[in-house]
Symmetry: C2
C-alpha cells in the first residue's frame, strides 16, 4: 500500500519529496510535494485573509476553525479569521483576487503551501480558497504529542468543470437539513453542482404560487416552500455549489396530473403514484394550457434558481397515452409530426423557447437530443447496458453534435454497486475518437441518487462514501486510478464526513437497535460487514414490492455497498490463492472463525420478533459454511465434511434473502474449489 | 420490578385488570386497565377520523403510520388515514370535537380503548388525539410471531397545563432542524410549551427587519430568519406546542449592545461575549431610545408568535453599570427610584405597557415580581439552593400574590444531574400551604437547557432522556414516583426517541470515533458507561475554561448523566450490602472484571494522540481499583492488597479529570469499607 501511495505522489509531484505522510486527500490533487517538517496545531492558530469581502470565505474559515478545534481538541484563542491588515503573523494566510461565479469554466484552482511555521493559500477566486481549506483539513495528521499539518506544496485544479450530485426528492422527500448536510459533504470533496430532481410521478416538491394546486395536491404536504428553496440555493452558493432544478416533463408527471388532470394526455383520474417504475401518465403537448402552466412555473423557478441551466427531464416517455388519444394523433398529422419522438421534440422546443425568454438554457436527459434541439442545450447522458445501449454512447454523440454534455451512466449510486464500479468510469475515456474541441464539450458528470428505496434515515449511506470516489474521478487526473489506494483513502474520508453531520455510519446502529428492540446488536453489526443490499434493479422487482410508504428500516437498509469484511476477506483470498501466503491464510482463518461464531452471537439476542426471525438464516448460513471451511482448511482435507451438506450450505448462502446478498460468495467458492482440487475432489458450485 | 409496575397499574386503574404487559408508557396515564387480548398489527391496518379538518391529526396519523411501519417492518396497504365516511371497518377509529387552541387550560384529555379487533381514540380536541396516538405507539409490544397492541383502556389528562422545555440558542446556536426534532420528541412525551431563549450576551438570534444591526452584528451570522421562525412556530403548533419567545433584557444584553452601544448604561465598546457567566452590560432604562428599539422589536416578534405570553427575561441584573452612570443616578433621584430594583421595576412596567398594547402578557424570570407588576404577569421561578435560596420559593410567593407561575428550579438539565433529581421535584409539593385558588395559579414547569456547554452535536444527549422523566412529573399523578420503575420505562422511551431523529445515543460513538481517529472505540464506550460529566457548575469554572468556540467534542461530551453501568452497579452494591445476596455478588464481580479489563482494551487502540493520552488515566484508574477489589472480594481478605496502594487508587479515581467523574465511587467506597470491616481492617477513605 505504502509503495502505491509513494508512486502516486511521485507521479503527480512537481519537485523533490522525501517522506510519505500517508495523506488521505480525496480528490487527489493535480500536483503535490511532501516535505519533512510539521506545523503543529496549537491554541495560537490564526487566520488572515487579504480581504474580507467573501461571505464564502467568511463561512468557510469559521467552519474550518470549528472543525479543526473539534477534531484536535485544541482550544483556539481566536475563533474567527482576521483581515490581513488587522493582525501580524497569522498561521494561515489566505490571498484571493475575486468572488467566483457559479458558472461553468470558472477558475476553481488554488495553491496550498504548508511549511513548518506558516500556511499559505492562494487562489484566483474565493471558490479556490474554500477548496484549499478542505484539502488542508484532509491533511491534518497526528502523533502522540500533537496534531499537525505536514509540510506539503499543492497546485490543484479540477479536470472537469461539472462535478455534480443529483438527489431525487420526489420518490422520497428529503427535508432541507438532509440536503444541507449533503451540500457540506459535496463541498468537502470539491463537488460544485447540486441537481435537484424536484418532481416525478411520486411527488411535486415545490411550492408554486401561481399554481398552488401543484404542491397542495401533488406532494402529500411534503414540499419545499419558496423561502426554503431560496435558503438552500444560498447555502449551496456559500459552498461554491450551484443548484440546477429539474422539473421532469412530459413523462414522470403523475403528481402534476394529480393536481391538473386537464393537462393529461388521457382523460382519467390521477393520484400521486405510490409505486416505483415507469408510468404512462404524460402531459398533453397539444394542449396550450400545458405551456401556460409550465411557463408560469418555469418563471417562478427561474427567479429562485439564478443559474444558466434548467433541467426539464424529458426521459422515459413511451407515449402510450399519446398513441391512444385521437386529438393528439390528429395534431401530429396536422403538424407533420411522424413519431412520438417528433411530438416530444415539438414539446421540448416549446419549452426551450420559454426558458430562453427567461434567460435560461435547457438541459435534459439524453432523450431531448433531437435534430431540432439547438446546441445551447446541455445533454445529460444516462443510458447504458441496463437500457440495452453501449455505456454513455449519447455523451460521445452529443459532443460530436456540438452539445455541451455530462455523464451519469456509470454513476447511478442507487444501484448499490461497489465504489470501484463507479471509480473506473471516466467521462472522457482514453479511447475516444473526439477532437480537442469536442472533448471540451464534455463538462463532467453527476452521481445520481434516485430515491425509490431511500428515506432520510438511509440516504446518506447510499450517497457516501462512494460519491467521494466519483468526485475524485471528476476532479483528479485520469491516471489516479489505483483501486486499493482509493479504498484506503476513502475509508478515512468516509469517517471524516461524520464531522459534517453525515449519518451514513451512525444510522446503521439506529436501524439495528430498532430491529432488535434495543437489545445487543453485535451479531447484526457483524452481519452488515459481509452482507450487502442486492444490486442493480433486483431489490423491489417491478417496482411493486415496496410502496413509497413501506418500511425502509429493514436489515437491507442497514447494509451498504462495499461491506468492509467482505472487501478484506476477498483481498486475502485473492492474495492467498495466488501466493499461498501463510499470513493471509492466518487472517482468513480469523475471519472464518468470526463468521462461524455469528450464530452463537445471534442466540444472545434474548427476545425475538418477526423481523429478527427473518434475519436469523443470514447468521446461520454464514456460520455453517464457515465452520465447514474452517475444518477443511485447518485439516487440509475434506474428510470431516459431508460434500452434499457443503454444497447445500453454499447454495443456501448464494440465495439472497431479505434483500441482501453475501458479498464474499465468490471468494468462498474459490477457496472451496482450491481445496477440493488440492484434495482431488470435484465440487460443482455453479 | 414487575411487582412495582403491577402495583402502579393497580393504583391508577379504573376497573379490573389481569395481566401485566410491562408497558413502557411515559408519562404514565391517569387511569389505565390492561386486559388479556391483543390486536395484531398487520398490513390491513387502517385509520378513520370522524372529520379530516385537523392538520394536526393529518400530520400525526401519517407520521404514526410511518413510525409503526418502520418499527414493526409491517408493509401497510394504506399509508394515510381516511375519513370515517370513506371506509368501513377501520382498525383505529378517531373521534374528536374541535381544533384545540394553544392556550393554558385547553382540554388535552383523551381516551384510548384497545380491544382485540378495534382501537378507539376519543378526545374533545385534536390535541388530545395526537397525545393518544403517542400513547398508542408507546404501547406497541411484540413476541416471536407478531407486533401487537395489548388490550388496554386509558382515561388520561394532564395534571399541569404548562409542560415546557426551554432551549437556549444564544450561548450556542441550534439550527432549525435541531429544534424540530426536539419538538417531535417533546410531543412524544406530551409537552406543550417550547420556550425559545433567543437572546443573551453571546448572541442575538432573531432576524430583525426594523433594526437589522441586531442580527447582523449580534449573531456571527447565526440567527433565525423570520421565515424560519414562522416555520418553526407552525411546526410546533402542528404538534400541539406553543412557542414562547424570550428576549432577555435589561441584563444579558451584550449582543444587543454590540449592535446598539448607544442603548448601553456604560459608554464603552461592546462585542458579542465569548465566555459564560453573568456580565455587566445592561440596557439603559433611562434612555427613551431603548424603548423605541424594544417596542419595534416586540412588535415584530408579536407578529411571529401568536400566543399570549412574551418572556422578557429580566434575570441576573446586578446594575453595576447603573451605579456607575451619573445620568442614570440622576434619573432615579428625579423619579424617586431608590434602588436598582426600583429602576428595573420601572423598566419592566414600561415593557409591560408595550406588550399589553400588542395584546401580550408579560412573562419573566422571578426578578420581575415587584410590587407594581400587575398580576397578569407570569412569574418564572428559577432560583434555589445554588442561588442561596430555598428551592422554588418564588413560585409559592407568586401564587400567594395572585400571579400565574411556573417552576424551573430543579429542572436545570444542563447541570448534568441524574433524572431522579428532577423527577422527585414537584411543582406543587404535598406540604404547601396554598389555598385551592392559589394552587390553580401554579401552571406547571419548564426544563431549562442552557447551552454554554452544548452544541448541536451534543444537545440532544443533555435534553434526553431526562426530560421525559420531567414531562411525566408535569403530566402524571404526583403519586407516580417510583424511581426504579421510572428508570426502567425511561430506558425504552429513550431508545424510541431515535425514531424521531434524536441523536442522544448515536452521537456518543461519533465523538468517540473522532477521539480515536476512527479506531476501535470499545474501551471508550465502556468508560462512558461509568464516567459522567462533572455536575452543577463544576465544568467550566468561572465561565473561562471554555469559550463559545472551544471544542465540545471531548470525552466529557460523549458522557451523559445516569451512566448505565454505574446505575446497575450501584443498585447491585446496595442490594448486596443490605441482603448479602449471592447473585448480586456474582453480578458485581462480572462488572468489576469488565472494568479491570478496560486498561487492556485501551491498549488495543494502536495509535495514540494528544486527546487519547488525556483519557488513558480514566481507563487505568478504574482498572486498577477493580483489580484490587476483585482480589479482595474473591479471596474475602485484604492479604493480597497493599493498603496504601488501595487508598491511592481510590483517591486517584475520586479526583475528576478531563471533566468527568467516576459515577460508582460511593459504591466502591462502601464495598471497600464493608470488606475492611469484615476483615477487621480500618480504611480511611474520606
Amino acid at each position: 500500500m505504502k509503495n502505491k501511495i509513494l508512486l502516486l505522489i511521485y507521479l503527480y509531484s512537481f519537485g523533490c519529496f522525501s517522506q510519505n505522510e500517508n495523506l488521505n486527500l480525496m480528490p487527489w490533487p493535480q500536483e503535490i510535494t511532501i516535505g519533512n517538517s510539521k506545523l503543529v496545531i496549537n491554541p495560537e492558530f490564526k487566520i488572515a485573509i487579504n480581504n474580507k469581502n467573501s461571505k464564502r470565505i467568511d463561512i468557510a474559515t469559521t467552519k474550518f476553525l470549528r472543525r479543526l478545534s473539534g477534531r484536535t481538541g485544541v482550544f483556539f484563542e481566536n475563533g474567527f479569521a482576521y483581515n490581513t491588515s488587522e493582525i501580524k503573523n497569522a498561521t494561515l494566510e489566505i490571498t484571493y483576487d475575486s468572488i467566483g461565479k457559479l458558472e461553468i469554466y470558472e477558475d476553481e484552482s488554488y495553491t496550498l503551501v504548508i511549511s513548518k511555521d506558516k500556511i499559505k493559500i492562494a487562489a484566483t477566486t474565493d471558490i479556490g480558497v474554500i477548496y484549499a481549506l478542505e484539502t488542508l483539513l484532509q491533511s491534518v495528521s497526528f502523533n502522540e504529542e500533537a496534531y499537525f499539518f505536514p509540510e506539503i506544496k499543492i497546485n490543484d485544479k479540477p479536470r472537469f468543470t461539472w462535478r455534480g450530485l443529483m438527489i431525487d426528492v420526489a420518490r422520497h422527500f428529503q427535508p432541507i437539513d438532509v440536503l444541507k448536510r449533503n451540500l457540506d459533504a459535496m463541498a468537502a470533496v470539491k463537488m460544485n453542482v447540486f441537481h435537484w430532481h424536484l418532481t416525478d410521478d411520486q411527488g411535486f416538491r415545490i411550492e408554486s404560487k401561481t399554481h398552488p394546486k401543484l404542491h397542495q395536491l401533488g406532494s402529500d404536504g411534503l414540499y419545499y416552500t419558496q423561502n426554503q428553496i431560496k435558503e438552500l440555493v444560498q447555502y449551496a452558493s456559500d459552498r461554491g455549489i450551484r443548484v440546477i432544478p429539474e422539473i421532469d416533463v412530459p413523462g414522470h408527471a403523475t403528481a402534476i396530473l394529480a393536481a391538473y388532470p386537464e393537462l393529461a394526455s388521457k382523460d382519467t383520474i390521477y393520484s400521486v403514484e405510490r409505486f416505483a417504475g415507469i408510468f404512462n401518465p404524460t402531459l398533453d403537448p397539444t394542449n396550450e394550457k400545458t405551456y401556460i402552466v409550465l411557463a408560469d412555473l418555469f418563471k417562478e423557478m427561474s427567479q429562485l434558481f439564478p443559474y444558466k441551466y434548467f433541467h426539464i427531464g424529458g426521459d422515459e416517455n413511451k407515449g402510450k397515452h399519446w398513441n391512444e388519444n385521437l386529438k393528439i394523433q390528429q395534431f401530429m398529422m396536422k403538424h407533420g409530426l411522424e413519431t412520438n419522438h417528433d411530438l416530444q421534440t415539438y414539446f421540448n422546443i416549446r419549452l426551450e423557447n420559454i426558458l430562453s425568454k427567461l434567460g435560461k438554457s435547457i438541459m435534459g436527459w439524453e432523450e431531448i437530443m433531437t435534430p431540432k434541439m439547438p446546441t445551447t442545450a446541455l445533454i445529460h447522458s444516462w443510458k447504458g447496458k441496463n437500457e440495452g445501449m453501449p455505456a454513455g454512447q449519447s455523451l460521445i454523440n452529443a459532443a460530436k453534435k456540438g452539445y455541451n454534455t455530462i455523464l451519469s451512466n456509470g454513476y447511478y449510486i442507487d444501484l448499490m454497486q461497489p465504489a470501484t464500479e463507479h471509480y473506473l468510469i471516466d467521462p472522457l475515456p482514453k479511447n475516444n475518437n473526439l477532437t480537442a474541441t469536442e472533448k471540451k464539450l464534455i463538462l463532467g458528470g453527476e452521481a445520481t441518487m434516485w430515491s425509490e428505496l431511500v428515506t432520510p434515515l438511509t440516504i446518506d449511506s447510499r450517497i457516501w462514501p462512494r460519491t467521494a470516489a466519483i468526485a475524485e474521478r471528476f476532479w483528479s487526473s485520469s491516471s489516479v486510478n489505483d483501486i486499493s489506494n482509493m479504498y484506503s483513502r476513502l475509508e478515512n474520508v468516509s469517517f471524516r464526513l461524520e464531522e459534517l453531520g453525515i449519518t451514513h455510519i451512525k444510522n446503521r446502529d439506529v436501524i439495528l437497535r430498532n430491529i432488535t428492540n434495543n437489545q445487543n446488536i453485535e451479531a447484526l453489526v457483524e452481519l452488515t460487514k459481509v452482507y450487502e443490499p442486492i444490486k442493480i434493479y433486483t431489490r423491489n422487482k417491478g417496482g411493486i414490492e415496496y410502496k413509497s410508504y413501506s418500511p425502509f428500516t429493514l436489515f437491507a437498509d442497514a447494509c451498504t455497498a462495499d461491506a468492509i469484511d467482505a472487501i478484506i476477506f476477498n483481498d486475502l483470498v485473492k492474495d492467498f490463492l495466488s501466493t499461498k501466503n501463510v499470513s493471509s491464510k492466518k487472517e482468513i482463518l480469523i475471519i472464518l472463525k468470526k463468521w462461524a461464531n455469528n450464530a452463537n452471537l445471534f442466540t444472545q439476542i434474548k427476545k425475538s420478533n418477526p423481523i429478527l426471525k427473518t434475519i436469523e438464516p443470514l447468521s446461520k448460513n454464514v456460520s455453517e459454511i464457515s465452520e465447514s471451511l474452517l475444518s477443511i482448511i485447518e485439516s487440509d482435507s475434506f474428510e470431516s465434511v459431508d460434500f452434499l451438506k457443503l454444497k447445500n450450505q453454499y447454495f443456501k448462502l448464494k440465495n439472497p434473502i431479505v434483500d441482501v446478498e453475501f458479498a464474499s460468495l465468490n471468494s468462498l467458492k474459490k477457496l472451496l474449489e482450491y481445496y477440493s482440487l488440492k484434495n482431488k475432489h470435484q465440487i460443482e458450485l455453479n
